[in-house]
């Protein structure tokens, strides 16, 4: 145990003096996060703005009035201005309104008679997601009103009295649906784009950070110190173990710094420290387990760098380090088993208030990944530094 601590301590001292690990594991990812935030800042800012809507509606038309009144109640900030038909288009063109609606005369009568009716929508400059939502609401209103007209016509054909026809039309237009859709979510809350950026970059660079252990072992061989270490009165496995532990320590420290600093800089709250720490440790275990395979495959530091870079890029990109990845079937399952994806998903759960009990799935994915990697490392023939 004393020899293992001595090996580990000396390795970490050299890594810190070398400074490359600090640059590559902390400074570069922070800089990259900052650059990506600058480039994609607006795209990542998902705050919806106020939807300014100019509406031209015929006076005294009940359904047109109902439509206009429903707009401010859709859950967004909607600012409705009623004006004349000519002014509506001018407002949209000038940018005073992001959306203009022209409701034709005889709107209610046409709807109730089941006749075609055309509401004109004009998207102004800068119309964004908010305008699309308003348009979807208008479309929904028209669909229900149309359904109401069809129901009324059907009732009349069946000989229902006018009083009942009015009730039927009212029920179809405003009543709740008999069909209920129940939707589920994989977690209580997913990371917002900035949170996903910080978590993704932390996961990606974790893959690079843990590679310093393998590179350290190969550096020992290139320095000639590996021969001397193997002549020391200790189990040669301790040399490999110290490098893996070194990777683990560097991975935990670097990822913790990235998540903490990234969270502060980008205003992301990843949630309770304990489950976040558990996720970090499991992610580092999963990625460090890959170093056992690389140690057996790489004969030189160049080979190790190439293998580790390929693994980092494949797992990082597939895990959503740059943008969310999703897929169905086998592809979706493979993507789900990625430790980077599991860490990001876990951080999404903790950021939504999830605790240790809620992150069991991502934790099991990461530990399972580590177990499989270790199994592969056992059966891969050793042609690396220790061969």
């Amino acid at each position: 145990m004393g020899q293992l601590i001595t090996l580990l301590r000396t390795d970490l001292v050299q890594r810190l003096r070398d400074k490359s690990v600090i640059i590559f594991a902390v400074i570069v990812p922070m800089a990259l996060m900052g650059a990506m935030n600058l480039v994609m800042g607006d795209a990542m800012d998902m705050e919806l703005e106020t939807a300014t809507v100019a509406v031209s509606a015929p006076e005294g038309d009940q359904l047109a009035a109902a439509l206009v009144q429903s707009l401010p109640e859709i859950g967004l900030d909607v600012e409705v201005t009623e004006t004349g038909a000519k002014d509506v288009q001018a407002r949209a063109e000038s940018g005073d309104a992001r959306l203009a609606l022209v409701i034709p005369d005889g709107f209610s009568a046409a709807l109730m008679a089941g006749e075609p009716v055309e509401v004109t929508a004009i998207r102004g400059d800068g119309a964004g997601l908010e305008s699309s939502v308003v348009l979807a609401v208008v479309q929904g209103f028209l669909d229900r009103a149309g359904a109401s007209a069809v129901a009324t016509a059907a009732g009349a054909a069946l000989g229902l009295p006018p009083a009942q026809l009015g009730g039927l039309a009212q029920q179809v237009a405003t009543g709740d649906s008999a069909i209920t859709l129940v939707s589920g979510e994989t977690s209580d809350e997913q990371l917002d784009p900035k949170g996903a950026l910080v978590a993704g970059q932390a996961g990606l660079f974790l893959m690079f950070t843990v590679s310093f252990g393998v590179l350290g072992l190969l550096a020992e061989r290139e320095l000639g110190t590996l021969s001397r270490l193997r002549s020391m009165p200790m189990n040669p496995v301790l040399v490999v173990l110290s490098k893996v532990l070194s990777s683990f320590v560097l991975g935990v420290v670097a990822t913790s710094i990235l998540l903490t600093a990234g969270g502060l800089l980008f205003g992301v709250d990843f949630g309770s420290p304990v489950p976040v720490a558990a996720l970090i440790v499991c992610a580092v275990i999963a990625t460090t387990s890959l170093t056992f395979i690389v140690i057996k495959l790489a004969k030189t530091s160049e080979q190790a760098s190439i293998i580790q870079t390929i693994l980092a890029m494949v797992l990082g990109i597939a895990g959503g380090a740059f943008f969310p990845m999703s897929g169905g079937g086998l592809l979706g399952t493979i993507l789900d088993l990625n430790p980077v994806a599991a860490m990001i998903r876990g951080l999404g759960i903790t950021s939504g208030g999830g605790g240790l009990g809620d992150i069991v799935t991502p934790v099991l994915i990461m530990l399972g990944f580590a177990a499989v990697a270790l199994l592969i490392a056992r059966v891969v023939p050793d042609r690396g530094a220790m061969a």
Binding site: T6, T10, L223, S227, L229, S231, M232
Partner: protein, 325 residues
Amino acid sequence: MTQTAEQQKHTSTGQDVLVVDGLVRRFGDLTAVADVSFRIAPGETYGLLGPNGAGKTTTISMIAGLLEADEGSVTVVGQPMGPTKVAPKRHLGLVPQDLAIYPDLSARENLTFFGRLQGLSGGGLRARVAEVLELTGLTDRAKGPTKEFSGGMKRRLNIGIGLLHQPTLLILDEPTVGVDPQSRNAILESVENLSGEGMAVLYTTHYMEEAERLCDRIGIIDSGTLQAEGTRDELIRLIGGVDNIQLTAAGDTEAAAEALRALPPVARVDADRGRLQLTVHDAPTAVAQIVTTATASGLQLSDVQISRPNLESVFLHLTGKALRD
């Protein structure tokens, strides 16, 4: 292998620090070491002398437990050695041919690190590190990173690490390769002092002068096989007390060589780019006849040198090639 009487006597002592018995190591179709056996007694300095590629480093790698032997065994202080063995390695100090120090650490940190791995600790470790720094002349530079050291300083530290835990057996694998003359002499003096302190030393080299100066006994190795072993005098006796004469001349050296080979005192003649290397019996008596014959063969002599036999002669005699081939 040729064994001297003294060497045969030596094998029966039973108190050896190192016993190497029938070592064989193959790399694919190449047999790098073929049936090498020798022993080293306490306080003895044993030299493995051979050219590059002779199998010295492979032999040492098996002795130090870095490499598994295909056949044969190594015993250090009575304990079998192997890559996973721990106990025999406590008695071993290895100075690899290539530098084996950490450039970002200071000399003191390097020594302390390897001392801890050897089981030293506390005040004992600190005292021993100070002693070795003094011994290697690095006390004044103990705190600076070794990447700023000269080649000679790095070599001295490399040896100091091997000595740190005062091993029973110190293995030095060509420690003077690439070293300036001053540092080389300092290294040789250090090794001489070690044997005086009772440490057994296994020293590999392809420099004949180093083997002659340092080693109590010498094993001559070539093509993975131990050709002969014994003291310097015993080895020289193997070639029958012959001397060397070197002629430097202009003219047809090949024709002259043919004429010289016919002379009775001449045992061997090698011609090489204006030089003739002769192995002769009783050189002082034969030299006049040799010079006469060479001149008669049309050579214009510019220099004649007579030398007593040395390990180079022995190696040439045993293998048919020079040590530096």
